[in-house]
Amino acid sequence: MRRTLSILALAAIGCTWAGEIPKHPRDLKYPPLNFTPPHAADYRHKLASGATAYLVEDHELPLVHLSVLVRTGEYLDPSGKKGLAQLTGSQIRSGGTESKKPAEFDEDAAFLAAQISSGAGPLEGQASLDCLSKDIDAGLAMFVDMLHHPGFAEDRLQLARNQALQGMERRNDNTAAIELREFERLLRGDRFFSTIPSTKASVEAITRQDMLDFHAKYYYPGNFVLAVSGDFQTQDMLGKLDKALAGWTNRAGAVPRPPKPDFAPSGGVYIVDKKVNQGRVRMGHLGVMYTNPDHTAITVMNGILGGSGFTSRIMSRVRSDEGLAYQAGSIFQHGYYYDGQFAVVFQSKSASVAQAVAIVREEIDRMRTKPVTPEELEIEKGAVVESFPRRFATASLRAAQFAADDYNGVPADYWDKYRERVQALKVADVQRVAAKYLQPDKLIVLVVGDADAIERGNPDRPQYKLGPATRIPLPDPLTMVYPK
C-alpha cells in the first residue's frame, strides 16, 4: 500500500510542472470542425447496361476496389430448396466459369493477387473485386466473366454441399448461434424466410440447374448497384465498366422486395438447456421500420439505454456496478423491409443470469417512466453528431454508403440534415419514444445455458428468480425437427 501512495505523491509533483494544462478536460477549447457530408448524386452514374454505379476516386494507394450489390437474397429461396441463394452466391465464385475450370480461375486470380468474392445473405447478394490498379483490366475481365458466366462445376458444388452438411451438424454446439436462431424464431415465427432453416434434404435437393436458373433470374446489370473506389479516373473507369458489362441482357420486370412476417410474437421467458458455465441472454421484441419518423429519436434513446457501450445505462449497471457480464448492451434496429428488432444482449455466469435480467427489466422501465438527464442526452447527441464524419472517412466507405442507401431506398439527401435532426431532440422526445417503443409486456427473454443452474440462481441473492420459463428443446440439426 505504501507504494501506491508514494507513486501518487510523485504524480502530484509532476502535475505542478505544467502550468497551462487545464485541471479538467471540460476547460479545453477546440477550434471548429468544418465538415459537409458528400452528396451521393455527385458520384452517381447510370451505366449503359442499366446498372447504377457510385465512383469515388482515391489515388493514395495503387488499388481499386469494386463491389456489387445484387437484388436477390435468401428471401427468394424456392420452397424445399432452402440454401439455394447462399449456394448460388458462393458457387459463382467457387465453381469456375463457362470457359475456365475452377482451379484455373482460382490460379489466375491468385497470380494476379486479386481478391474476388461472391456470396448471398438474407436480403442481398454481393460480389467484389480488389486488385492493384495496374491490373484492373485483367481483374475486371475475370470478375465480370465470373458474374456473367459462372460455371457451377459439379465437383465444387458437391464439396460445398458437404461443407454445408458438416456445418449443420454443429448447429447445436455453439450457444451464440443457438441464441440468434431461437430468438429469430420467437420474433418472426416459424414460417418466415429468415426462420425456415436449410436442412440436409433441402441442400441435397439443390441441383446445378437450380443454380443456373437462380443466377439467370437475378444476376443482370439492371439489378446491380456498384460501388467503385480507389486509384482510377472516373471517366476512364466508366468506359471500362460499360465495355465489361456490354452484351449482358437485362430481364423485364422488377425483382420482388422481401416480404413482411405475418406473425404476432408473444412475450415470456424461454430457456434452451446447454451445459456451459455461462448463460447467453437476449431479451427484446420487434423494432421499427426505417420509414418510422421516430427512428432517429429511437436511435438516440437506445444509445442512452444500451447502445453506446460503456456510457450506456445497461453496461454501466450490469458490468460496472455488478460485474455480472463482460459485454452488455442493446440494439434497436430499423428495418428497411420489415420491422427490425430491439434486443438487450449479455452473457453472465449461470448463478447471476436472473439478477442481470432483473436489472435490465428495471432499466427498461426507468427509461420509459423517468426522463433522461440533460447530460445523458448531450453525451449521446455528441456521440452521434461529432463522430458523424467517420461514416464517410474513406473513399471505399463513401462509395459503400451511397450504394447501400441506393439499394435500401434511402433518399439521397438523408444525411444532409442528419446532424440537425439529432441536435433538435429534446429530453421529452426521448421519453416519448421510450414510452411508446419499449414494450415490457412484449419482452421475449431468451436464455441459452445450464437451465437448472440458471433457474436455481444465486443462493446469496434469493430475491432474484428467472420465473417460469418455457423450455425450448434442441432440434435435430439435419432435419431441424424439434422434439415434442
Binding site: 501506491t4 501518487l8 482451379a103 451438424e169 460485474g323 463482460y326
Partner: protein, 491 residues
C-alpha cells in the same frame, strides 16, 4: 522522442477530419510470472477506471476507502490461504462454499462488501468513456496480447488535445478503483471467450502443453487462481515499471499538424516521470522439445487435426521462408486445399499459419476431416504435403504467385488508418516500426531453395505437437446426434 524516453510516431494523412490515436505499453502476458498471470490484461481493464480527476466525486475519501479495502482484503487473504491449505489437505472440497468459512472470515467479507458499496457511491461511472463519447471520440478500447498492450481511440481532428489530456492524465494519476469488482468482469470475459466455447478449454490446454518453459505457456487472460489473488499492490508495482514513458510509444495516423502534435506531446506526455529502470527482456527461453507430444480431445466440434512445430521468433532470418511456406499451403490455390480437399477429399478445410511472437514462434497446420474420414487421415495427408516440399523445392511460378500476393497485401494493409496505427504500435513493441518497410524486401528475397531448406529443418517429428479432436458423443436422449457423430469421427 521525448526527454523522458517516450516516443511519438506520426503519419499525417488528409482525407477525413479525424485522427486514429493510440499508444502501446511494451508489456504483455509474456512478461508475467506465476502468481500474477493475467495481470497485463487485468491492468488494461484498470486503466479505464479513472484518475485523481476523472471517475470520482471525492478523491480524498476515495483514496481512504481504498486503503481500508486493501487492509481488509489482506486479512481476507490470510483466511483464503488457510482455506487453500485445508483444500490441499482434503479437509474441504470447495473453498468458495460459504459453510467452510470462519466467523472472522464472514465478518471480513461483510466489511469488504460495505466498503465496496461505499467505494461505488464515490465513483463517477465510466467518466473517461463519457467524456470521450460526448466529444465524438469513438472506438475507445484496448487490447492485450502475449507481447503488448495497446490503447486506442478515433478522435475528431479538432479535439486531439482532449486525447492528450485524457491519456496523459491516466498515465500520470491513475487510480485503480473498483479493483476487486473488475476481476468479476474478467472472469465473465474468460467464461465467454474460453469456457463456454466448444474448443476453448482444449486449446488452452494445448498451448500449455506446447510451451514448456516459455512464459507463452499461460493464457493472456491468466490462470483463474491468479486472477483471484492479484492485489492492488501487485498492480501498482507492475505499473511503475511497465507503464513508465520509457516503455511507451504513441502513434497518430490521420488529419493533424505534426508540429502541433509534437508540441502537445511535449506538454502532456512530457510530464510523465521516467521509470526507475528500463524493463528487462524476458529471460526464460523455450527449451528444445525432445519428443513428440500428442493430445486427444472429445469436444462439440468437427473431427480435426491441429499440428504444431516450434520455429523461430519474429525477425529471425528464417521467418520469411517459413511465411512463404505457409502461403504456399494456404488459400484456394494452396497445396493443402488442392490436395486434401479437392483431390484426396480427406478434409473439408485445411490451412497453415506461421506465427511469430517476440520471443518464440510456431508453425501450425489445421485440417477438418470430411465426414467418414478421421483426424488421423488428415494428419497423415498433411505430413505427405510437407514431405513433398522437403523433397522438391516449389516451382518459380508458385513462388512468384505468393510474392505477388505479399506485394498486394503490403499495399492493402496501409488502407485503414486504424489498422496502420495498430501495426506501427505492434512493430514498436517488437523490433521497431521500420520493420514495416524492411520486412517485405526480405520476403521477396526468399528463394525456392530457402523454402525447401526450412521445410527440412523445422519439421522433425520430435518437434511436433498434435491435437486431434473427435466429436463428443451426443448427450443422453439425443440418439440421432450420437450415431452421426461417431460416424463422422470414424470410430
Amino acid at each position: 522522442m521525448l526527454d523522458n524516453g517516450m516516443k511519438l510516431l506520426m503519419v499525417p494523412r488528409k482525407g477525413s477530419p479525424n485522427v486514429n490515436a493510440g499508444w502501446v505499453a511494451k508489456v504483455g502476458s509474456v512478461n508475467e510470472r506465476p502468481g500474477i498471470t493475467g495481470i497485463s490484461h487485468l491492468f488494461e481493464h484498470m486503466m479505464f477506471k479513472g484518475t485523481q480527476v476523472i471517475g470520482t466525486k471525492n478523491i480524498e475519501e476515495d483514496l481512504k476507502v481504498m486503503v481500508e479495502l486493501d487492509r481488509v482484503k489482506a486479512e481476507m487473504r490470510k483466511e483464503e490461504q488457510d482455506l487453500a491449505r485445508r483444500l490441499r489437505e482434503g479437509e474441504i472440497a470447495d473453498v468458495k462454499d460459504p459453510k467452510v468459512r470462519t466467523p472472522r472470515h464472514q465478518q471480513l467479507i461483510a466489511e469488504f462488501d460495505r466498503l465496496t458499496k461505499r467505494e461505488k457511491e464515490l465513483v463517477v461511472k465510466e467518466e473517461l468513456d463519457r467524456i470521450y463519447t460526448a466529444a465524438g471520440v469513438t472506438g475507445t478500447n484496448a487490447g492485450t496480447s502475449e507481447d503488448w498492450t495497446i490503447y486506442f481511440s478515433n478522435v475528431p481532428a479538432n479535439k486531439l488535445e482532449l486525447w492528450y489530456w485524457m491519456e496523459s492524465d491516466r498515465l500520470l494519476h491513475p487510480v485503480f478503483r473498483e479493483f476487486y469488482s473488475e476481476r468479476d468482469v474478467v472472469h465473465e470475459e474468460r467464461r465467454r471467450s474460453i469456457d463456454s466455447t466448444p474448443t476453448g478449454r482444449y486449446m488452452e490446454q494445448f498451448e500449455a502443453m506446447f510451451w514448456k518453459s516459455s512464459p507463452y505457456h499461460w493464457p493472456v487472460v491468466g490462470w483463474p487462481s491468479d486472477l483471484e489473488a492479484i492485489t492492488r499492490e501487485d498492480a501498482t508495482s507492475y505499473f511503475g515499471v511497465n507503464y513508465a514513458p520509457n516503455n511507451l510509444v504513441a502513434c497518430l495516423v490521420g488529419d493533424f499538424e505534426p508540429a502541433r502534435a509534437i508540441e502537445l506531446a511535449k506538454q502532456y506526455f512530457g510530464r510523465l516521470p521516467r521509470g526507475p529502470y528500463d524493463p528487462e527482456p524476458v529471460r526464460t527461453v523455450e527449451s528444445p522439445q525432445l519428443a513428440e507430444q500428442r493430445m486427444t480431445a472429445y469436444a462439440e466440434t468437427n473431427p480435426q487435426a491441429i499440428i504444431r512445430y516450434h520455429t523461430v521468433a519474429d525477425g529471425h532470418k528464417d521467418e520469411y521462408a517459413l511465411d512463404v511456406l505457409a502461403n504456399l499451403m494456404n488459400d484456394r490455390t494452396g497445396r493443402l486445399y488442392k490436395s486434401l480437399v479437392i483431390e484426396q477429399q480427406v478434409a473439408n478445410m485445411a490451412s497453415a499459419a506461421h506465427v511469430n511472437r517476440k520471443y518464440e514462434g510456431f508453425f501450425e497446420f489445421r485440417g477438418i476431416a470430411k465426414p467418414g474420414k478421421t483426424p488421423e487421415q488428415v494428419e497423415q495427408a498433411i505430413y505427405k504435403e510437407l514431405e513433398k516440399v522437403q523433397k522438391e523445392p516449389p516451382s518459380e511460378h508458385e513462388l512468384q504467385k505468393v510474392k505477388n500476393q505479399v506485394t498486394a497485401s503490403n499495399f492493402r494493409r496501409l488502407q485503414s488508418d486504424h489498422f496502420l496505427m495498430f501495426q506501427l504500435l505492434m512493430a514498436e513493441a517488437d523490433r521497431g516500426w521500420r520493420t514495416l518497410n524492411t520486412d517485405p524486401a526480405r520476403t521477396q528475397a526468399v528463394t525456392a531453395a530457402d523454402v525447401q531448406r526450412v521445410a527440412k529443418q523445422y519439421f522433425e517429428p520430435s518437434n511436433r505437437n498434435v491435437l486431434l479432436f473427435y466429436t463428443k458423443r451426443g448427450e443422453p436422449g439425443k440418439r440421432g446426434a450420437e450415431a452421426r457423430s461417431s460416424e463422422g469421427a470414424g470410430q
